[in-house]
């Protein structure tokens, strides 16, 4: 089975982001970038399935600026076979990404698509579900376990309050949650090998997809800072403050 994994280049999750002075967005120039952590889990899942013999080929796709090829190379170093960058210069929103991915899926005809559940920059949590809907395929979002069994997959997914088990027909789109696996570190020999793996660059026009953003950002700002707190001397004072001042108990 061929698997397609969609990945996103985001600001490194360990960096504290800064809002641009003019409020038009978040500062990304000269900021360390990385693969979205949930996308790393998605790639790792595909690589493990290939190592287990369930998957024959892994195609990774990114939609974004030229530098997203670096993120694709990381995925190739993790064990993906082939990369596709759909190059878009400006902002690209989830609906547009889902449409681009649908066009790639129509061409590549994978048996399974894996995405991360959410990108840690825009926190939208939409693309996988949207892609699944556009394809008319089943979906399994926020998965922590995936087993392929012939023409279907047995899934455990994270829901509020615990886990849910579902069975979905294939082909399908699944989105990876934190507990699905722990992604491997890429090794230097694999980074070198990844440089020789094929990487194709396409434009959305060539796929017949309009990627114009639908939402206009009017303002970007930092949330209000919390006021400074009060140190209490002992438990009795804490209880008194909570009862009489904060009035929360």
């Amino acid at each position: 089975m061929k698997v397609l994994v969609a990945i996103k280049r985001v600001v490194d999750p360990n960096i504290k982001v800064r809002v641009k002075a003019d409020g038009t967005g978040v500062e990304t120039a000269n900021v360390k970038m990385a693969m979205n952590p949930f996308c790393e889990i998605a790639v790792e899942q595909a690589v493990r399935m290939k190592e287990a013999g369930t998957v024959t080929e892994i195609v990774v796709v990114a939609v974004g600026i030229t530098q997203s090829t670096e993120t694709l190379r990381t995925a190739l170093a993790m064990g993906a076979d082939r990369g596709i960058l759909v190059e878009v210069a400006g902002e690209v929103q989830p609906l547009a990404v889902a449409k681009v991915l649908k066009a790639i899926v129509d061409k590549e005809k994978p048996g399974l698509v894996i995405t991360g559940k959410q990108a840690i920059d825009d926190d939208c949590n939409q693309t996988g579900q949207m892609l699944s809907a556009l394809l008319g395929w089943p979906q399994a979002a926020f998965i922590s376990k995936l087993e392929i069994a012939g023409d279907h997959a047995d899934i455990t997914r994270e829901v509020d309050g615990g886990l849910e088990k579902i069975c979905i027909k294939l082909p399908a789109v699944v989105t990876a949650d934190l507990r699905l696996n722990e992604p491997r570190y890429v090794t230097l020999p694999n980074i070198m090998k990844a440089k020789k793996k094929p990487l194709e660059v396409l434009k959305p026009d060539a796929l017949g997809v309009d990627v114009t953003p639908r939402l206009t950002t009017l303002k970007t700002e930092e949330p209000p800072k919390r006021g400074s707190g009060v140190k209490v001397a002992d438990v009795a004072e804490l209880v008194s403050k909570l009862k009489n001042e904060a009035k929360v108990i």
């Binding site: 509020d160 088990k165 934190l178 438990v235």
Partner: protein, 309 residues
């Protein structure tokens, strides 16, 4: 304007976030219909009819809605979507699962996790794990929105119950099948719904010591949470995790015990109304965002606190 709110429920009762979502809908202005899709869900529908602001309740009662599978939920919402200008659901595991399907098939860009409403087409939503707020405007004909339930106070009870109408269910898509739940058994509230949360970190030392927090939580009617450090150390199950990669919470009161306050944890709880931190390390970063902080050994402070409540 006509607004549709999709209710999350267990066929008997509404889940906590529904009244907050209805409150968000009320801020938009306009008639509010609430869709209750379930199986044997008359009680949940009756509950929805009694929420202030609701104009009418639509009930789709069919076996295929016994569990809210994304494909079936989306198909049901789409069958009536054209009657509305706004479609809202709580940004919980429930709403996040199927709303993007609705949005994609209507060819509109969903607005996820809104924390406030500026106008009927302009919304504020947190990005970068709540470290940045962005204000976005949508020109799409139908606004598909998920609502951060901590951003809106719940709607109250209505003086008169709204009328309840049946709507036709859509045939089972047959794409996926519900097999079962493994829910963490707890008599305490769910983290995302709790008014008070007591959370433990690495300082708890082991899972056994979480009993101290459970005793405190039971006194307060609180949920028990944890930092990723505590989850990764195996003290408590994964679904306890509060933080950037866990649950985002904003209770009235958040009591952080033995939690140093890594950025990733703060991202999940810094919007709590009142934060209490108990830590023996006077330099713990958690104190910087706490309203009240106590520098003391948690093994002394927590039992004392439980006793004094």
């Amino acid at each position: 304007m006509a607004i549709l709110v999709i209710a999350e429920h267990d066929n008997k009762q509404l889940k906590t976030g529904v009244t907050n979502t209805i409150a968000a809908a009320a801020k938009l202005g306009g008639d509010i219909s609430v869709l209750v899709a379930g199986s044997g869900c008359a009680d949940a529908a009756a509950a929805a009819a009694k929420v202030a602001g609701v104009t009418k309740v639509l009930v789709a009662d069919a076996a295929q809605y016994a569990a809210p599978l994304a494909e079936n939920m989306a198909a049901m919402v789409l069958s009536i979507a054209q009657n509305y200008t706004h479609i809202l659901a709580p940004a919980t595991g429930f709403g996040k699962n199927f709303m993007p399907r609705v949005s994609a098939l209507l060819d509109v860009q969903q607005i996820s996790d809104i924390s406030s409403i500026v106008s009927p087409d302009t919304f504020v939503r947190p990005i970068y794990a709540g470290n940045v707020l962005t204000t976005v405007q949508s020109k799409d004909p139908i606004k598909v929105i998920t609502v951060r339930i901590t951003g809106f106070d719940p709607a109250g009870a209505a003086a008169n119950a709204a009328p309840i109408e049946n709507v036709a269910a859509v045939a089972d898509t047959g794409l996926s099948e519900f097999k079962g739940h493994e829910l963490t058994k707890s008599s305490r509230p769910e983290l995302t719904a709790a008014r008070i949360i007591v959370s433990g970190g690495r300082g708890m030392g082991n899972g056994e010591n979480f009993k101290l927090l459970e005793a405190l939580a039971d006194k307060l009617g609180a949920a028990v949470g944890a930092s990723r450090a505590a989850v990764d150390s195996g003290f408590v199950p994964n679904d306890y995790q509060v933080g950037q990669t866990g649950k985002i919470v904003a209770p009235e009161l958040y009591v952080a015990v033995g939690i140093s306050g890594a950025i990733q944890h703060l991202a999940g709880m810094k919007d709590s109304k009142v934060i209490v931190a108990i830590n023996k390390d006077a330099e713990a970063p958690i104190f910087q965002i706490a309203n009240y902080w106590l520098v003391e050994d948690l093994f002394k402070a927590v039992p004392e606190l439980t006793a004094q409540l």
